[in-house]
Symmetry: C2
Subunit: 299 residues, 2 copies
């Protein structure tokens, strides 16, 4: 069968998964695979193939971005990828599988855990701001400042008016990142409760997965509907043209990884990342190099 | 031909390349490939194959180390890899190719540039200490505190007695890391002046390599013999049983990458990294999971 039949349409994925006006989380089927419809059941294998094909391009684009930053170009950009989702929705797998092909020297990964006592003494963005990616880097937030309007809302760790204030503060914060040259991409990995059950069960059962399991995961799971509501509000309030949210159906790991990669690739391509211009006199440097060789080797 | 004929002997590499008593940098041929002698010229291809074979094992061992740290085990270890070498000796390639197969979430890469004004106001280890790897991580220093006895010695940025003091301070610092559970592995990528010339020329010529070129690279290159002397002293003074140096012949990139990977793998294997024991009651958690499902789905 021809590859064309199952080729993922990144523009379809990008548009269909985007959180825009009228967005309803409840309408998104976590099992669906928008933009990638493999007719014959072998979609997964073909996806794996397509996935690998794009590794080289992704690594190349990141290196160009990094090169522009190293050359001190005034418009040197960066990318910030925000990953959110319930436990076991696949955030770690996205980082490993999607970003694993990128030079690790160009990644800045920050995992946000429960805030420390010191962090709680400051505004909620205090601990986030220092991790804004430097020019040339792809910054990845594994959980993020959105926890401050998700778990904090569900658990009522902050009063409603403070939660309310935070949506605006987040929009302002992200706009500042955009203004300083950072592309902000936000992905909510949307897993269903049955799929989460299977994945948590695996963590309970398998010796190589125990370490990923936390008894508190079930406490959060029990608040499934409350989290869905908190996500709905956060997504619709903070999906901005310059800092959009995509909701990625995540019951099929191969799909969520392919979709995130496709959107990331499209974003990097659209940045038209040229290699920086040469900043030195090539003839002169060739000459100096040759002379240094004569000196070292005593010729 | 049989693979056995060219299989790299990691124990040979590990022992032959180790900096021990009587070590002379001048005796090491940058073109050599100790422990990996491919008779028929296709050693490079076979090396590539062997290289890939080990990716999965390396990723697995790192994940085990990370798991032990996440489980808050008191003996949770970490690894610190120090990379040194002249410009274009392949430090960046080692990070990308050797560590590219490891989950980037388990890496902490720090590239040390020329010290800032603030850094110079402190002891030379002040800027280094905060980057000691956390338990579970592989920390990678791209250049390191050794610059303070290399370029600083060659360029006389610090007086001789201060350089002298630093060897001891480095030994003490690394011993502290070892005492707190960090395996310290130090690699000097040993490239020859002719090979460096070719690589620098490539950076001068190729638009996708310009950004890696710095006109100052030639200034350092002209001090080749002085650097060789500074390396000789630093290596012999600071190669400790618990924090050894290996000098890796680096004219052949495939070899230097394979050798570093082999030594790293052997180190991780020797750590006997078991998955952490389960810390929760599996029956109880299975039960709680099931009940939460009934609650969410209203069954």
């Amino acid at each position: 069968m021809g590859k064309n039949k199952v080729r993922v349409s990144s523009s379809v994925a990008r548009e269909q998964l985007l959180v825009g006006p009228g967005f309803k989380l409840a309408d998104i089927d976590p099992n669906s695979t928008p933009g990638f419809e493999g007719a014959n059941g072998d979609a997964k294998e073909l996806a794996a193939e397509l996935f690998l094909e794009r590794d080289e391009e992704l690594a190349d684009l990141q290196e160009r971005m990094y090169a522009r930053a190293r050359a001190d170009l005034p418009d040197a950009p960066s990318v910030l990828v925000v990953l959110q989702g319930m436990d076991a929705s696949g955030k770690g797998g996205i980082i490993r599988r999607v970003f694993g092909s990128v030079d690790p020297q160009g990644l800045a990964i920050k995992s946000f855990k429960s805030p420390t006592k010191e962090e709680l003494e400051h505004d909620f963005l205090w601990r986030v701001e220092p991790h804004a990616p430097k020019p040339g880097f792809i910054g990845i937030f594994d959980r993020s400042h959105y926890e401050d309007v998700l778990i904090q809302r569900v658990r009522e760790f902050a009063p409603p008016e403070e939660i309310e204030r935070r949506y605006g503060a987040i929009i302002d914060f992200e706009q500042r990142l955009v203004d300083s040259g950072t592309k902000v991409l936000k992905f909510m990995l949307h897993v269903g409760p049955e799929e989460q059950e299977e994945r948590l069960l695996e963590r309970i059962e398998r010796p190589d997965k125990h370490w990923k399991y936390n008894t508190g995961d079930i406490d959060e799971r029990e608040l499934w509907d409350e989290y869905a509501e908190a996500y709905q509000i956060a997504l619709e309030r903070t999906s901005m043209p310059n800092a959009p949210w995509w909701v990625i159906p995540a019951n099929k790991k191969w799909y969520s990884r392919l979709a995130v990669k496709a959107i990331l690739l499209r974003t990097l391509r659209d940045m038209e990342l040229e290699w920086p211009e040469v900043t030195f006199d090539q003839d002169e440097e060739r000459e100096r190099l040759e002379q240094s060789t004569a000196k070292i080797l005593g010729e």
